[in-house]
């Protein structure tokens, strides 16, 4: 959705226009769900997270002010907070906190066997959880929520070039972790 069009839809939805609200839901619910599924695993938890996110959106949309981050930034910040709250309530530590430093980038080629192992979403999430928070976030938003670099930039309050740089570093780190993972028993 173009930004000008999105502004109109958000404005109308905030004033009670039901068709605009439906358009917002159709546009963003699948992305929020995929983002939640990438962090919590597909299923009931991700559905709960997406539902709670949109419940907060409908409560708060009257106070939403269009600033630099735009609607996506606001929406995914809510989603992120909902997910973090759910993880805390579930007694789960945030794995991202375990990684203070970026993993060393390897320039070795990625073995075919290791790449194949990425087919498991569970294993992949485990790898992503070991990334620094911003790198993990950029991959979740780009490949999980399906946002383009501009939308991801708005969601992360970064410009598109910064998003590309973060994405590149994140991919290199993932690739570097794969051999380590496949050597595990």
């Amino acid at each position: 959705m173009e930004e000008a069009q999105l502004r109109g839809v958000v404005r109308r939805a905030s004033r009670g226009d039901e068709s605009a609200a439906a358009a917002l839901f159709d546009e963003y619910y699948p992305r929020v769900y995929r983002y939640a599924a990438a962090r919590l695993g597909a299923g009931a938890s991700a559905e709960d997270a997406a539902s709670e996110t949109f419940a907060k959106v409908v409560r708060e949309i009257g106070r939403f002010k269009w600033r630099g981050a735009g609607f996506e930034g606001w929406l995914f910040r809510i989603a992120r907070n909902v997910i973090v709250d759910m993880q805390r309530r579930g007694g789960r530590e945030l794995p991202a906190a375990e990684i203070a430093e970026p993993v060393e980038t390897s320039h070795e080629g990625l073995p075919e066997q290791a790449v194949t192992s990425l087919e498991s979403a569970v294993e992949l999430r485990a790898l992503l959880d070991r990334l620094p928070p911003e790198q993990r976030e950029v991959l979740l938003l780009r490949f999980g929520a399906g946002l383009d670099t501009i939308e991801t930039g708005r969601a992360m309050e970064r410009n598109a070039n910064a998003v590309r740089q973060l994405q590149l570093r994140a991919l290199r780190n993932v690739r570097a972790m794969v051999p380590e993972k496949v050597t595990e028993p």
């Binding site: 939805a13 905030s14 004033r15 009670g16 226009d17 039901e18 605009a20 609200a21 439906a22 839901f25 159709d26 619910y29 699948p30 769900y33 995929r34 599924a37 990438a38 597909a42 991700a46 559905e47 997406a50 539902s51 949109f54 419940a55 959106v57 409908v58 409560r59 949309i61 009257g62 320039h107 080629g109 990625l110 790449v115 990425l118 087919e119 498991s120 979403a121 992949l124 991959l139 979740l140 780009r142 490949f143 999980g144 994405q167 590149l168 991919l171 290199r172 993932v174 690739r175």
Partner: protein
């Protein structure tokens, strides 16, 4: 790293991104219920105006009504604000017309009773109170004209009754005053050499009404002289003056007087004249 290695690495990363994307893609569950809730929640915002949106105009309306009620509460039929007062009275924001009439009747009753109580002790004050009561009753009558038939008739009977009582109190007080004006003259103004009300001296006597006798005195201060003079139907002789420092002799009067001598009003003097 040479160009070939860089190219290979870029391809690997692109491939990794595609695999990541594929691995993170999950089927979105049916969310019709969530959508219905979201859309209904958004729609409810339209019928839920903000507090400020309600309170500010509401407060302004209240202020205007209060000011109008205060300004128009004493408006009477014929006044510009009377229709406003009537409307506000209809919705309970100002006293209703019937209550206003009732209040004025109560006030008139109080004034009439007060007037009756002081008729003998302070007749002048009683006349004032009776007049005030009549004025209040006039307002009550104007207001009662705004009411419907049966209520208007009931009030008019009450108004008429009070008017009669106020008139009676006024007349009674007036009679008392007149009697008091007469009493000093009846008691002291006869006989030779008597004067009028105050400090009159001289010979002869006279008074306002039906006095007779030789000599007269004037009505007011410091009259002196002899003979008589009076207002009505007086007869006699000598002189008298109405006011200050009159002197003279003989008699004079206003109406139907006869006699001889002279009299003057103010500072007049003369030795002879005929009334």
């Amino acid at each position: 790293m040479n160009d070939r290695e860089k190219e290979l690495q870029a391809e690997e990363l692109a491939d990794l991104a595609r695999r990541l994307e594929a691995a993170l893609q999950v089927e979105t569950p049916d969310a019709r219920r969530e959508k219905a809730l979201f859309v209904a929640g958004a729609g409810a915002r339209r019928s839920a105006p903000s507090w400020a949106g309600v309170l500010v105009p509401g407060a302004a309306v209240v202020v205007v009504l209060v000011v109008l009620a205060l300004v128009s509460r004493s408006a009477l039929p014929g006044d510009t604000l009377f229709p406003v007062r009537k409307v506000l009275g209809g919705v309970g924001l100002a006293p209703s017309t019937a209550k206003e009439v009732r209040a004025r009747l109560g006030e008139a009753e109080r004034l009439v009773v007060s007037a009756s109580e002081v008729v003998f002790t302070s007749p002048g004050r009683a006349k004032d109170l009776a007049l005030e009561a009549l004025q209040v009753l006039e307002e009550a009558e104007d207001l009662a004209d705004e009411l419907d038939g049966p209520r208007q008739e009931a009030f008019e009977d009450e108004i008429e009754s009070l008017e009669e009582r106020a008139d009676a109190a006024f007349d009674e007080a007036d009679d008392v005053l007149k009697d008091r004006e007469r009493e000093p003259e009846d008691d002291d103004s006869s006989g030779p050499g008597s004067g009028g009300d105050d400090d009159s001296s001289g010979s002869g006597s006279g008074s306002d009404d039906d006095s007779s006798g030789p000599g007269s005195g004037g009505d007011d201060d410091d009259s002196s002289g002899s003979g008589s003079g009076s207002d009505d139907d007086s007869s006699g002789s000598g002189s008298g003056g109405d006011d200050d420092d009159s002197s003279g002799s003989g008699s004079g009067s206003d109406d139907d007087s006869s006699g001889s001598g002279s009299g003057g009003d103010d500072d007049s003097g003369g030795s002879s004249g005929k009334g």
